[in-house]
């Protein structure tokens, strides 16, 4: 029987597209009883990885990370074979203005999300058209992605992805295969993206708490630039 480190590593790479670093795995195994059966170890390792910061837990092979010049906007289009594991650092709904999002956050802060405490601010009129046209529910989203080396790039949701939205957890892991990068932006589609899930607690909390300020800053920046 080969050693559990190799076995877990192979298993995670083949089923999830995640390649944990040897250091992380060794540390992980020291926390587990030697008698634990392998399938359980596999599961626990996967769970821990999804809750970890991949810049400390995954190995950094060139093939499973963003190329160093990923931001190069002169490259019109290229394909990355991967699999590249990334974690989500931030998400934004591009179909909503920042101001609209700030108002929604403030309404929740005032407790208007609670049942019986809602305030209806826009009343439907009798003349509302049945041919709305625009899909409700928001999106496409823009995601800030980070690979195992800590390199960041933006991804845009070219086609709707399950598990992606303003309600998702920060630190959520995704694996990209044969993904197209156009002008430095990763184009996300269901065929190229596997959303694994997971969450980095500290990151999520910070993102949530800082979101209103971020949105405000983005509005001001937008005003100054143009």
């Amino acid at each position: 029987m080969s050693n559990p480190t190799t076995q877990i590593s192979t298993q995670l790479a083949s089923t999830k597209g995640l390649t944990p670093s040897p250091t992380w795995l060794t540390t992980f195994l020291t926390t587990q009883r030697p008698t634990t059966p392998l399938p359980v170890l596999n599961q626990t390792a996967c769970f821990r990885l999804l809750a970890s910061d991949i810049t400390t837990s995954l190995s950094t092979n060139a093939a499973t990370c963003f190329p160093p010049d990923i931001h190069n906007a002169n490259i019109k289009e290229r394909k990355l074979v991967g699999p590249i594991a990334v974690q989500v650092l931030a998400v934004e709904d591009m179909s909503k203005s920042r101001w609209e999002q700030i108002e929604a956050i403030e309404a929740l802060e005032r407790g208007e999300g609670t049942k019986g405490r809602e305030i209806i601010r826009v009343a439907a009129t009798e003349e509302d058209d049945e041919s709305g046209g625009v899909a409700k529910g928001g999106g496409p989203h823009k995601l800030a992605l980070q690979d195992a080396t800590g390199k960041r790039a933006y991804g845009i949701e070219l086609k709707g992805l399950e598990g992606v939205g303003l309600g998702m957890s920060m630190g959520c892991k995704m694996v990209l295969r044969n993904v197209v990068v156009a002008r430095g932006m990763v184009l996300l589609e269901p065929v190229t993206v596997t959303v694994l899930g997971g969450k980095i607690e500290g990151l999520h909390k910070a993102w949530k708490e800082g979101r209103k300020a971020e949105l405000r800053a983005a509005i001001e920046a937008g005003e100054r630039v143009v």
Partner: protein
């Protein structure tokens, strides 16, 4: 014993028309001492058994007969701490100016076998009925009490109502009594407290009464909320992709399925991929019949909203005019939540009466010649009144200007309800261009139907679309990225405010207009025309006491109202200070928010349904507000501080 029946209506005009219908025009008129408007009409009428042929005295009150007041020793502003008003004894008494009217009923009741109450059929009318009953009991302990059920003053309808009386609904009476008590206690306690607190700040606030009302404040809250949203608004740029194609000398514009995005880089990247793809493919081609639905039967809330929107007459004035049209017998009772016509109603007969009109008579006749369609039914039914509709024809030329416009609207709306939907054919062409989807829509209006009589709505054919076929590919003539910027919403307009009050449960359809007028009168808000022309609206209204509804008799006419553009509401510094002050106190249920009042309205309905008792309701609500009152008193500083920085900034 004399077979005499005493009939009492809510206002003189109704008494007169009921007397005319029941008597066939033959009646004697007697004045009563002490009131020049009230008349007693005397005639004979053959009632259904057990009454049979009786002599009738038909008279009326003028709205409420009685009022609720604190006991004498609590009436003066400084007589007690405002907080004591939550428990201070209250007493019901006949209003000073109504004494002669009550005496008339008392003395007429002495010789009558039965009392028939002809007040309007709604909660308020039910309560007025109970006041009339009380006055009659003063003169005759054993008088039998009945109530006529009617919703317009058309002759047959009135005769049917006289033949089929029902009982007074004491549940509704209790609901109104409970609300009256709460309005009095809460209104007086908070009004005295905030007036006395803010008076000490001097300046502009020194001699002012700063009234509180449990509907007024949430109403004001909506205006302030919108004001701040407009003020704080920051415009943002957005981008979109537009595709244009020229074919058969026609230019078709395809719009992006994503509509618009707030991220330029993403849009440009998506756009580049469209250009790279070069070829667009038709992925969907659909032609289908479409229709624009005829309007629903008219409710009070819709009348107020649309009056303001289409006729530019403010809600309070629309209601006054509608009430006059009702009193004169031209339209049905204008306070109704019902948007469904009863299946048994003879609508064609009502349409027929409109056949003689010069403008819409021809249309009405085409409905009778086969165009008639049973109106759509909405989901609201107050089980008391039908939707607002014309009862009789009146030549528009014989009406005053605004009366004519309101009557015309009610008639056209009714005829539109009884018409066929407008029909058309819509064409949708969807294309895939790179990774992006676009679509173009075409509309051909085939039959206008109801739109012919209802000019308030528009529906027009679009430019024709050239021919496309499914799966065909083509190279679009032009594609570009367009840029736009978000704009702030406008300040709140009256139709919007009414919609918000309705959606959030503030006031009833019958009282909304009063609350809006009240916050104008108190100078918590101002109105200005939306377009920005220099005209100001000087609408004034006659005030009621303690937030009570002013009914009957008062034919106060609001000035202005007929301007050319929609009026919008802007809070005054005082209005802002009050709402910000209460929000600043940090109560979960700020008085400026709609929740508490909404709960009150729900519980009133429960009283009417018999599931909550009047005492429980009053007690619970008082406790709820008492807690808020105590917190507000403790934090009076916050209220003052906000007023201070806003008023004197």
């Amino acid at each position: 014993m004399a077979r005499k029946i005493l009939c009492v209506a809510e206002k003189p005009s109704i008494a007169k028309s009921v007397a005319q219908h029941l008597s066939g025009g033959q009646f004697n008129t007697h004045s009563i001492g002490g009131n020049a408007f009230i008349k007693n009409y005397e005639f004979d009428f053959n009632f259904s058994p057990p009454w049979g042929q009786c002599s009738v005295i038909m008279t009326s009150v003028v709205g409420h007969l009685t009022g609720l007041e604190f006991a004498q020793e609590y009436r003066k502003w400084n007589a007690c701490a405002p907080g004591q008003l939550f428990d201070a004894p209250v007493e019901t008494g006949v209003d000073k100016d109504k004494k002669a009217i009550a005496a008339n009923i008392t003395s007429q009741a002495k010789y009558a076998r039965a009392l028939f109450i002809w007040t309007d059929c709604d909660r308020e009318g039910e309560h007025i009925g109970s006041e009339v009953r009380q006055a009659a009991f003063e003169g005759n302990r054993t008088i039998e009490v009945k109530r006529a059920q009617f919703s317009n003053t058309e002759r047959e309808h009135i005769i049917r109502a006289a033949q089929n009386p029902i009982n007074l609904d004491d549940l509704q009476v209790n609901a109104v009594a409970a609300r009256t008590e709460l309005d009095l206690r809460l209104g007086a306690a908070f009004t005295r407290f905030q007036t006395l607190t803010l008076q000490t700040m001097g300046g502009d606030l020194q001699d002012r009464i700063i009234s509180y009302g449990s509907c007024q404040f949430p109403t004001l809250g909506f205006v302030v909320d919108r004001y701040f949203r407009v003020q704080k608004f920051v415009p943002e740029k957005f981008w979109s992709i537009k595709v244009m194609h020229k074919r058969e000398d026609m230019e078709v514009t395809f719009s992006w399925r994503r509509h618009r995005l707030f991220d330029r880089a993403s849009v440009v990247t998506m756009f580049e991929r469209c250009l790279t793809a070069c070829i667009a493919k038709v992925t969907k081609l659909q032609k289908k019949p479409t229709s624009k639905w005829r309007p629903l039967p008219l409710t009070t809330v819709e009348l107020q909203k649309l009056g303001s929107m289409y006729l530019r007459i403010d809600s309070q004035r629309v209601m006054k005019i509608a009430e006059e049209l009702y009193n004169k017998g031209w339209i049905s009772y204008p306070r109704t939540e019902t948007d469904t016509f009863d299946k048994g109603m003879d609508l064609k007969k009502l349409i027929e009466k409109q056949g003689q009109d010069q403008a819409w008579g021809g249309y009405a006749l085409t409905l009778l010649r086969g165009g008639f369609k049973q109106p759509r039914g909405g989901r609201h039914n107050d089980q008391a009144h039908p939707p607002i509709h014309p009862v009789n024809y009146v030549a528009p030329s014989s009406l005053a200007d605004d009366e004519r416009r309101v009557y015309e609207f009610v008639v056209r709306r009714f005829l539109a309800c009884c018409s066929e939907d407008a029909k058309g054919e819509s064409t949708t062409v969807e294309i895939q261009y790179g990774d992006e989807a676009f679509s173009a829509n075409g509309l051909i209006v085939l039959e206008r139907n109801y739109l012919d009589v209802y000019p308030y709505e528009k529906w027009t054919s679009s430019q024709p679309l050239p021919k496309f076929s499914l799966n065909e590919t083509f190279e679009p003539t032009e594609a570009n990225v367009t840029e736009g910027e978000t704009t702030a919403q406008g300040y709140l307009t009256e139709p919007e405010l009414i919609s918000l009050m309705d959606a959030n449960g503030i006031g009833t359809d019958a009282t909304m207009a009063e609350h809006i007028a009240k916050i104008k009168e108190r100078e918590y808000v101002m109105t200005q025309p939306r377009a920005g022309s220099a005209q100001t609206n000087g609408t004034t209204s006659r005030g009621g006491r303690g937030g009570r509804v002013v009914r009957g008799g008062s034919s106060a006419r609001g000035g202005g109202g007929g301007g050319g553009s929609v009026q919008q509401f802007i809070p005054t510094t005082l209005g802002v200070a009050l709402i910000e002050g209460y929000n600043g106190i940090g109560l979960e249920t700020s008085l400026g928010k709609p929740f508490l009042r909404k709960e009150m309205e729900i519980k009133m309905k429960e009283i009417c349904a018999g599931t909550t008792s009047r005492n429980d309701f009053v007690h619970e609500t008082l406790e709820q507000y008492r807690e808020i009152f105590v917190r507000t008193q403790q934090q009076a500083g916050v209220l003052k501080a906000v007023s201070d920085c806003i008023t004197f900034a």
